[in-house]
Symmetry: C2
Subunit: 501 residues, 2 copies
Amino acid sequence: MNARNAYDTLLAHSRASADIASALNLLSWDQQVMLPPAAHAGRAGQIGALTAILHRRACDPALGDWLAACEGSDLTRDAASPEAANIRELRRDYDQAVKIPESLAVALAQAASLGQRAWELARKENDFNAFAPHLSTLLDLSRQKAEVLGYAGEAYDALLDLFEPGETVAGVAPILAELRDAATDILAAIADAPPPAPLPAGPYPAAGQAALLAQVTARLGLPRTASRLDVSTHPFSTLIGPGDARITTRFDEGDFTKAFFGAVHETGHALYSLGHAGPAHYGTPMGEAASFAVHESQSRLWENQVARSLPFWEFMLPLAAEQFPQLAGCTPEAVFRAVGATHPGLIRVDADETTYNPHIVLRFELELALIRKDLAVADLPGAWNEKSQAILGLTPPDNALGCLQDVHWSTGAFGYFPTYSLGNIYAACLFEAAGQAIPDLSARLAAGDFAPLLAWLGTAIHEKGRLLRPRALVAAATGRTPTAGPLVRHLRAKAAAIYGI
Amino acid sequence: MNARNAYDTLLAHSRASADIASALNLLSWDQQVMLPPAAHAGRAGQIGALTAILHRRACDPALGDWLAACEGSDLTRDAASPEAANIRELRRDYDQAVKIPESLAVALAQAASLGQRAWELARKENDFNAFAPHLSTLLDLSRQKAEVLGYAGEAYDALLDLFEPGETVAGVAPILAELRDAATDILAAIADAPPPAPLPAGPYPAAGQAALLAQVTARLGLPRTASRLDVSTHPFSTLIGPGDARITTRFDEGDFTKAFFGAVHETGHALYSLGHAGPAHYGTPMGEAASFAVHESQSRLWENQVARSLPFWEFMLPLAAEQFPQLAGCTPEAVFRAVGATHPGLIRVDADETTYNPHIVLRFELELALIRKDLAVADLPGAWNEKSQAILGLTPPDNALGCLQDVHWSTGAFGYFPTYSLGNIYAACLFEAAGQAIPDLSARLAAGDFAPLLAWLGTAIHEKGRLLRPRALVAAATGRTPTAGPLVRHLRAKAAAIYGI
């Protein structure tokens, strides 16, 4: 088979797998949004059946043959071409898939399934000991996975690389430390400043919130013809297939900002999904997300850099006040200040922009110590509480609010947390660069004209798919190596504007 | 491999296929109920990918080996055992699947896809000639399918058997003729009788209709924990997976009875689906529907024998009047008469109980002539119009209201139509037998107590799955060979009650 035939066959295989993955995405979306309660047990089997099919396809030895026929051919001569990128990334996916023996893949899937159920119960009962054996098993299996995947530095690198290609402990640790120190500085600087006034009390009826979300998501550029907004317990975004990016939210009638910023966040994910998964490249690496951090950069940029900005509320406040009369007396400045307030707390998902990253540092350092065996599972609760006091200045009253807080470890997702902070960093880098490329960006945001920003992100990030590895992608988009600098500047400027420091 | 191991392996394969089929069902449900418009093109590919996987599984030669190991073993000694039925039906499914070459299966699927799109356009444009070549292709391919499947009598039998195992032209033609003649007699008898008064005029707000449907579907026994009611252009019922039977409806604010009887009809389907697809047999023939006619018998029984009865409206009218005050002045008798009125018309899906079956006779006779090549495609419009005049006493003003009316032929579903009338017949047979088994059935219906009827159907039909072939199943349930007699008696009695003939 010549290289061109092999490449076409490879891409057809990739696209067919994407079609099956679409069905899997839909099974999962439906489970969280639509599924009748009696059907949950059956749904697990359906998800398992398609997962097994996809795993077998991903390990198909024919892929190795087709890849070998492509590699070193004319198709890979220009490393910056879509063809070369597709071949490089399909090689990465294939090598990863075949390195993990089916027995280990099955053991991990089962441990994750059992672990997540055990975690849910343990968190509810505040019983770390009930979860500890599952965590030990998941750590053992994850270390085995790291060994079969291989690494240059240390085992954790292999796990991190699955979420964030090319990242290592050596690469992310200093950036995370920089974010932690910046947060500490900002918190110290604002310690004596009076907090901004809160927004007017509710009720903010769910119907009004839904109407406002329909307006804002459409205005940000999410086409109703290619998306849906539904309600689920845990808000999320998912690309089901081409032209089908769905988001969910949940309504708190006492505080409209939860659903509002949540929906803007998920809209950011959905805009990226629709942007990379266009018809030309759908189902191939060029039509896929570059990484978890790049995905998070898109949600965070729209949520924090855009929707928590003062210009944004100049545009949005009148629309919000149409739904909620109690906002009519507010100024855009007052909303900007209220939704940008810093309030250290124990819960990561409720954290503000400034204190969010220290939560990540805490988790990164602990999961790294666990993988390294520097920390025993039995000692995790104590270590969490100590580090929480040291980093956040707060000690959780119990493990449910401490080391049992997040779902990630219960599914064996070690190496995931750093992608949140990297996403925050990339968001700030990209927004700073967009501001230079679009000189009147603030005025555009204040006018509710988000199209120039979306178009810039489309060209710089969305349409690139997996053409470049994440850091290189952001570097190419911004013209400089990504650093924590833009994010730290953004946080300091916001603290100055809100707290007058 | 011994017979027991082979049987267990066979059933595991069948269950895994059912899990994949669940994903396919969900893709289809979602397409009709939830899918954003931009995603339709992609959805076709997703459905195609899973269809191809299921087809390959259905033809897997290993199935033949496992079946051979089971057949003639102790497992098949008692022909009435679930094991023997599973083996017999899996053999039927496997033999059908392998007889159809992949090239023919693909050609049929493509012709059906193209045909349906061409039909939609042709009906809209009232342009039979645009559809005719597709119909010719579909007929050719269907005749080829009949040849490879084989038959004892004639080619049409092989197609009919796919929908209704064991049925033949020789078997259904006389029954359909009996129904046609009975309808002619009834129409003649009521020709001079004054029609019943219509129901009060609308509006019947959609919200009130939805509230009423939630009440009635739950009351009929459809558990909310295992079902959903959504809105779609074409109402339907689908079993997604275990514990997950979904129905849809659409609301006409001028006439609440359309959504009402439609939802009761779909509830009948859903009750059957949940009844046969219990945990013990799900994913195996014993957990599947016996046939299309048996499925239709369940929807028709609840729609016609139950929900269009006088006792039912004694219970239901007060609930309906709570939603729609204009009904407060009606009597149950008045509603019974209005919803049971006979009104010959051109449209099958709008037909009343009496004139419905003649619509089927018309279609059956024409599709039989087409398959036999007794009728050329070019002559179909004229033949339809002549037969419509002869059977219904009406000539369509155009082909859109004539031979382009139904979707079935555009997808190559020749042999499907008779199952509607067989379903009506089985519904009447079963309801008559249920009335003998539950002496106070009318009083129960008038009290809104549907549990005894559902329990009787559960034992007699639902839980039997594919244990028996359709006619034998109904015979076992009723204690006598199914005939058109009960349906004809039902229609005559209703005409007598409404028109005083």
